[in-house]
Symmetry: C2
Subunit: 361 residues, 2 copies
Amino acid sequence: MAESSPVRFGILGCANIARKVSRAITLAPNATISAVGSRSIEKATVYAKENGYPSTTKIYSSYEAVLDDPKVDSVYIPLPTSLHVKWAVLAAQKKKHVLLEKPVALNVKELDVILEECESNGLQYMDATMWMHHPRTAKMKEFLSDSQRFGQLKSVHSTFAYLGDKEFLENNICVKSDLDALGALGDAGWYSIRAILWTTDYELPKTVTALRDPEFNEAGVILSCGASLSWKDGRVATFYCSFLANVAMDFVASGSKGNLRVHDFVVPFKENAAPFYTVEDLWFGELAKSIHPAPSEQQVNTDLPQEALMVAEFSNLVGSIKGEGSKPEKKWPTISRKTQLVVDAVKASIEKGFEPVEIIY
Amino acid sequence: MAESSPVRFGILGCANIARKVSRAITLAPNATISAVGSRSIEKATVYAKENGYPSTTKIYSSYEAVLDDPKVDSVYIPLPTSLHVKWAVLAAQKKKHVLLEKPVALNVKELDVILEECESNGLQYMDATMWMHHPRTAKMKEFLSDSQRFGQLKSVHSTFAYLGDKEFLENNICVKSDLDALGALGDAGWYSIRAILWTTDYELPKTVTALRDPEFNEAGVILSCGASLSWKDGRVATFYCSFLANVAMDFVASGSKGNLRVHDFVVPFKENAAPFYTVEDLWFGELAKSIHPAPSEQQVNTDLPQEALMVAEFSNLVGSIKGEGSKPEKKWPTISRKTQLVVDAVKASIEKGFEPVEIIY
């Protein structure tokens, strides 16, 4: 495959979230949609049309058929979490690179099966955590890494929440114990946990302790929860995730010299420009009557939305593997696995009555 | 004493924080400074001059002499915390109303001695938590109380921190085990705990669990710590307080319908106008490519700084007691005690190896 050929995606299923990623594949300069599979050909046909798939897109009546198509390089898997291990492993066995929707697995044991299959087949794996690919994320990281401006990391707090309506709380796959058993921890907490680990350059905490009194639905699926993470050196992180609160996508980091705040870290207020707020050496004015300076806003523009940048980055890596025989980029499976380890630890802490759980990597 | 006569304050000691409150007494229309006491007459004379005390101010060489002055109605006590119980009790015995700097006591047992002495003498007690008196605080409360705009409270997070320099960390009374043994928990955590309780209309949490791995100095005084609070109904709060991080005065509340954020809740960026940020019914745009609306800023102006409004409110209450025989306002001792109860619980949880501590009111 020539470097200039776009990476050809097969889409497994007609999930709502796949609409956004389908558009992103269309927008990414190095990717194209070549197939979609659904148990209903009719549904997939309508879906392909509604989402502007190329007229050449193959419509299959099964996921297997997508995986068997030799003109598919990569699959995007937006299926319910409980189905990830089956279909991601099968995709890897069929030599398809895997872009996997989050939460990536019900636990790290399942994820390891997926990652091992991808690795042994020389395939790229990436989880679909879109905000990682926004240029704002790199700009924020520059600030956090600046020992003069931010200093030493001391604390992080993140909230990711959205308010499920009656229909969502009764019927959405995110609250079904047989489909997305991790509930709000997997769907919302994933983002906060990733953000916290991103802040520590993926240094895992020593212990994770769930906050007391999460909320559950009747089937025992988490609707809201939180946790504290500690690194045994004074750094602390806390997060709250919920299907029962107004949309919040907050991330606040306190360093010894500066602070960083962002209020839309997962999905920005605007597609083409995203803000974050920094302040350095904040101190008290005369008689401590006021504090100075006020935080300043930094806007980071982007021509392509973050989800298209994610597809472009994934496709770059796939293109290098196919075109130049490169090795898969290990960063992506590594940080996905670390995120899952913390998700698992929060769940374990809840199950153990909010006892601290040590993270073993 | 006629209603229109200003309340006459005696100041115990020449603490730095007393400069700010001295100015506030001067600014408040219903208060005046009538005496100051210090072990050094010379120091107090210079201090009175530097801080623009009225020329009629009595300069005493002891705190006792201030308490014995019949022309002193009220005392402001900015002494180290370990001295509060002695001097606040003595002040109350001498029939002086008490404006007490925070942290108010080393523990609730000590505070109860103070509160009982004030109550049995029919005196007003108030802790010097200035931000409570900013008109912004009332405006924020309006939003939080609005079931249509904010809905049901789900989570709160607060950070209060400032970076102590070498001199502070070695010599400030805030890090001395014999003076302010509560360290960062008393000096900084106090504000976050008060803010959390303010959010719940002072409904105490059922349990308080300290975050693991606080930082201590060699004398065992807390330099940074945090805690999670839970109400057994899904509401959670977390806070982080520190002498080891850049100034942060954050308060973020998530409701089922709205969010509130403020980044300078203890001391505003500007003396005469303070912002807060609200957003209601935040939701995803088409294909979840963005979220709408962005938070909106509300500016609350004030002619008098919050510390002068605190003095004015305290003096109003004292004036009513003296002029009209009113009873002291119980709100202030009540919320001070509740704040202390949570401070005590955090400390107990740290001492018990981060076990949850039940709050018994």
